[in-house]
Each structure stands twice: as structure tokens, then as C-alpha cells.
Amino acid sequence: MGMDTPPRWDRRMQQRLARGEAAALGEFYDRFAALVHSLAHRVLDDDAAADQVTREVFGYVWENPDSYDPKQGNMRSWVAKLAQRQAVHRLRQAEALAYAETGVGSAEELEQKVHRATVAARADYIVTSMPAPLRKALELAYFQRRDYRQTAADLGVTEDEARRRLRLGLQLLSSAHARPLEGSSPPGYGRPL
């Protein structure tokens, strides 16, 4: 199953969820649970908290399938935004609670933490959504420690092309720093679930 779901799949899934088809909910989970859970985990760094966010995001989607607007992007990016926002919401809650209990920390530190977590989650999303050839090249060079010549050989492309893919992949990834989270959310997506 590819990373890019056709718009038709998205619209059809939305209709099926809206008419209350439990089977559609299962299929929806199978497609997006790993994405939601890993983004939440990246923000919260805790399995139980990520489980909880997963539960909340799917609960929200099941109750509000109509809040997905296909004109604003594909379903995958919508789900990623919901996951990221809910995870950040939880992180703020947890940190505020910790502050109330211990008095350690400051508003500034909290914002820094939220910012770091948000950038990290956005970066994860960018990696999973970027074109497969770029992702493959990054995987080889970073995780398997292949140099760009070996990467080129592994991928069966020229060395020029391997260099291009590595550079382009990192350029895409660096955009995780660029956009503020809330600013990137389409209208109506801005409230917690």
C-alpha cells in the first residue's frame, strides 16, 4: 500500500465513516494507527500517553468525520495534524501539571519543549510523506551509513542523482523548522479534540 492515498479513497472513507460503518473504522485504523501513534510518541515520548492520544484521535474522527475537508489536503495529512495537535495539547497539560506539583520550570522552557516536540513530529511526518526515492536515499546514507557512492550503487542511480536526492531530502526535512504548527492548520482545525 502506497503512502499516497488517492483522493477517491479519502472521500469514500469519509462517507463510510459518516454513515456509521464499523468496518470502515477498522480499515481507517489499519491505515493510520501507526502514523498517529508514532507522531504522538515522538511528541510525548511515552507509550501509554501515545496510546491515549491514539484513542482520542480515532474517537474524534469517528465522531466527527465531516470535519475532514478534502479541499484542505489529503486524509493522511489531516490525521497527522490531529495527532500532532492532540499530542501537543497533552504535553502542555502534563507539563503544566508537573509545574504545579514541583514548581520546576518556566513558561519559556515549556514553550521550548513544545516547539522541539512539534518540530520533531513534523519532521517524522515529512520523512514518511516524502517521495520514496528520497526517503530510500536518506535511509541508506543515515541509518545504514552508506556513503553517497555506495548509495548510488545500491539504488542503481548515478552519483549525481544520489547527491541530488540526499540534498533534496534534507531540504524537505529542514522545512520542519520553518512553519509554525498552528499557522499551518486550516481554519477549524485549531481546537483540541
Binding site: M1, R19, G20, E21, A22, A23, A24, L25, G26, E27, Y29, D30, A33, A34, H37, S38, H41, D47, D51, T54, R55, F58, G59, W62, E63, V119, A120, A123, D124, V127, L138, A141, Y142, F143, R146, D147, Y148, R149, T151, D160, A162, R163, R164, R165, L166, R167, L168, G169, L170, Q171, L173, S174, A176, H177
Partner: protein, 423 residues
């Protein structure tokens, strides 16, 4: 994205130089450490730096720029690394980009999809359905199949391309001996796909093996699927298999009540749809376990309630299997005639662990009722071990069962349990 047309500008803006540096025009002194582009230098470059002085190639600005990604990932030669770093002291746009790309590298990290708890699915779905009841629910008796196919699919998502060709050793019990067959991960998915097709056709949907396929046994269907392929199966079987399982669940959900009793024929026997789906869930788990073993992944048994349903199905099939074996001369003669619906001699099957329970297997006739009062023997087994016997993964002799009572009855029941297995 930086375009290619800005090269002239790059050079013109060169005076804005980042970081501390030695004399930029001192090209001869290659023994000194090159100035660093930024404070974000990671340890990786330190390690890959070779002690001897690399030859620094003379590269054009375009090539140097194209190397920035590889440089940030520490994926160039030592000479190229030096060349890039020398260049960064002289070219501000490249230095800016180098910094950004180095920062981007720190955002890469290992995928951790594997940690998703398979039991989370049912908890999440339950929570959803509690918040908003389904207008078109999935019947309870379909959930083992739904859960097992989802679990296998999650495993398949995590395995690499080459692992689809990993050898899988299939093993079952036929005519009182162990039969083995070699397949691959993709081949096993093809097997599940072909046999699930029996349910598909029973529901009136198109046979995945194509139109006009005669009535075939599960094994024959699998052989037909395998031989029809013009090359060894690969990961592309996952999509059709998964689509079919989703379609089955959806079709049943829409079909409503009566569909549970629809008959699914397996050529030599038949099951009501409800049991057939349980049987398919069992097969899915057993083969997922075969696959997980082949690719060295951990794989847990089904949840307790689902395992219980699978054991219960096997227990209900046992009196019939015993009668078949008796007719074939493989089991001892019936000890008594029992009127249909009356309690007859029974074996007490006690299954321990999650999904366990007590079953009373009628020994002399499938029409008789198993009864605690008429129990002449008792067998105690662990739930997963019992399922391994049902799947033919262990022999009746290997089944380390706690046994008590009529030896012949125990031997016949354990052999009949193993005889339920097939490819």
C-alpha cells in the same frame, strides 16, 4: 529549494563568512583542521575523518553545492569533505544551507512502528463505538477474523522487501504422519488469499482465482493459485489479500443477521459462515506465526476470548473427526450406541491459560452430547499447545498433555485433533 541560477550571486555574496576561520586563501596549508561551518558539527564527522591528509579535489561550485546533502550526512569521501568545508568558508549561501541541512540530519531517527501494541486496535475501536454506536456494526463473531487479519497485516507492513521471499516451513498432519512443505512469506499470503476465497464465493462475490473455477479443496485452491503465477509471488500479494479480507468483513456487516448460517463448502466438508470465519481467523494466526518465525519477529497468540472461540470450534469438530477416523479404521470401534441428543461417553478436555475452559467431547457419536457425568478420560493442555496440535505443528505423541483415564479414548481424541490440520 535552491535553484541553479544563483551561482554567480553566491560568489558575489561570499564575504559574509560564517564561523571562525584561518586565512581563506591559505590553500596550501592542508594539515590544519578546516574551519567548522557551525557549532552543530556532530561526532560522526570526527570519526570518519581519516588521520592521513586526504587529497582535496578541485571541484566547481555546482558540484560542491550538490555535495551539501551528502556532506551533512557524512556520506562523502574525506577529500570531498575537506573541499566542501573549505568552500563553506568562502560561500555564504552554501554555508547557510550546510547549516540547515546539518540541523535537518538531527531530526532523522529510527522508525518505531514495530512497538504498536496489537491489542490497542480493539481498545481504540471499542472506545470509538462507545462514543458513537455504529449504524452498520461488524458482528461479534467476525471480530476474531478482523483482529487476526489486522495483526498479520501489521507484521507484513514491517517486514523488508527481501523478507517476502524468506523460506517458511509449513508443517501439518495428514494420514497420521507429519507432512512438510516449503513456501515463502509471499507464498503463504497467497495461500491465505486463495482459501479465504472460499468465503468470498460463498457470499456471492467474485472468486479471486477467477471465473469458472470448479469446486476445489483448500489445498487444491492454493496449488491452483501458486501454479497460475508466472513468477514467484512477492509483496504484491499483500494488497489483494488485505482488500479481500476487508471486503469480506464489510460484506458480512451489510448482509445482516441471516448470513451467519450461510454454508461455506470446503469440498470435503462444510461449515456455517460463522464457524468458517473463525476457522479462517485460526489459519491466519497459525500462518502469521509461521511467517513471524521465518523472519524472526515476535508474535503473540490471539486475545483470550478469540483463542477460546477457536478452541471451542476445534472441540465441536472433534466428534465428527473421530467418527471419520473410525470409518477409516484409524480409531477404535464405538463402545456403545447412543441415541442422538443423549449424553454419551465423553472425554473431558481441560484447556489451561488464556482462552481456556472445559469441554466434554462425545466419543462414540457426533450426535451424542458430551457430558461431565459420562467422562471416561481427562486431558489437560495449555491453550496455545492445543492449537499447535490442531494445526499439526506437534504430533499427538508430542502433546505433553496431563492424561487420566481411558488410554484408548485419549489416543483417539489427540489423533483426531491433529487430523483437523491441513495445509
Amino acid at each position: 529549494m535552491t535553484g541553479a541560477a544563483d551561482d554567480a550571486d553566491d560568489v558575489a555574496r561570499a564575504p559574509r563568512i560564517p564561523g571562525p576561520r584561518r586565512a581563506a586563501d591559505d590553500h596550501a596549508d592542508l594539515t590544519t583542521r578546516p574551519p567548522e561551518a557551525s557549532g552543530t558539527e556532530t561526532e560522526e564527522t570526527e570519526e570518519t575523518e581519516e588521520p592521513e591528509v586526504p587529497e582535496v579535489p578541485d571541484l566547481s561550485h555546482n558540484v560542491l553545492k550538490s555535495l551539501l546533502g551528502a556532506w551533512a550526512l557524512s556520506a562523502c569521501s574525506a577529500g570531498e569533505t575537506r573541499a566542501v568545508e573549505n568552500h563553506l568558508t568562502a560561500c555564504a549561501p552554501c554555508a547557510d544551507e550546510a547549516l540547515r541541512l546539518r540541523d535537518a540530519v538531527t531530526l532523522l531517527h529510527e522508525d518505531r512502528d514495530l512497538d504498536l501494541d496489537p491489542l490497542l486496535r480493539s481498545r481504540v475501536l471499542e472506545n470509538c463505538l462507545g462514543r458513537r454506536p455504529a449504524r452498520i456494526p461488524v458482528p461479534d463473531w467476525v471480530t476474531p477474523y478482523d483482529a487476526e487479519t489486522a495483526r498479520l497485516d501489521a507484521l507484513l507492513r514491517d517486514i523488508g522487501e527481501s523478507e517476502w521471499h524468506a523460506p517458511v516451513r509449513l508443517k501439518w498432519y495428514e494420514e497420521d504422519r507429519v507432512v512438510r512443505r516449503k513456501a515463502t512469506v509471499a507464498g503463504v499470503i497467497g495461500h491465505l488469499f486463495a482459501v479465504d476465497g472460499l468465503v468470498t464465493t460463498a457470499l456471492g462475490l467474485d472468486d479471486p482465482l477467477g471465473p469458472d473455477v470448479p469446486e476445489l479443496s483448500p489445498t487444491e485452491r492454493t496449488e491452483a493459485f501458486w501454479t497460475a503465477l508466472d513468477r514467484p509471488p512477492n509483496r504484491s500479494v499483500r494488497g489483494p489479500w488485505r482488500d479481500q479480507s476487508h471486503t469480506l468483513i464489510r460484506t458480512i456487516a451489510f448482509a445482516g443477521r441471516g448470513v451467519a448460517d450461510l454454508t461455506v463448502t470446503y469440498k470435503d466438508f462444510a461449515l456455517p459462515l460463522q464457524d468458517s470465519l473463525l476457522e479462517r481467523a485460526f489459519e491466519c494466526w497459525r500462518h502469521a506465526d509461521d511467517i513471524a518465525t521465518a523472519v524472526a519477529y515476535p508474535y503473540a497468540p490471539p486475545s483470550g476470548p478469540h483463542l477460546h472461540g477457536m478452541i471451542d470450534l476445534a472441540a465441536r469438530l472433534l466428534p465428527g473427526a473421530l467418527a471419520n477416523r473410525r470409518r477409516a479404521g484409524l480409531a477404535g470401534p464405538a463402545k456403545e450406541l447412543v441415541a442422538a441428543g443423549a449424553p454419551g461417553r465423553s472425554l473431558h478436555l481441560e484447556v489451561e491459560g488464556a482462552g481456556g475452559g472445559h469441554w466434554y467431547i462425545s466419543l462414540d457419536s457426533p450426535a451424542a452430547i458430551g457430558s461431565p457425568e459420562r467422562a471416561v478420560a481427562q486431558v489437560a493442555m495449555d491453550g496455545v499447545e492445543f492449537c499447535q496440535l490442531v494445526a499439526g505443528h506437534i504430533t499427538p505423541e508430542e502433546a505433553a498433555a496431563g492424561q487420566d483415564g481411558d488410554r484408548e479414548a485419549i489416543k483417539d481424541v489427540l489423533s483426531a485433533t491433529a487430523s483437523l490440520s491441513r495445509l
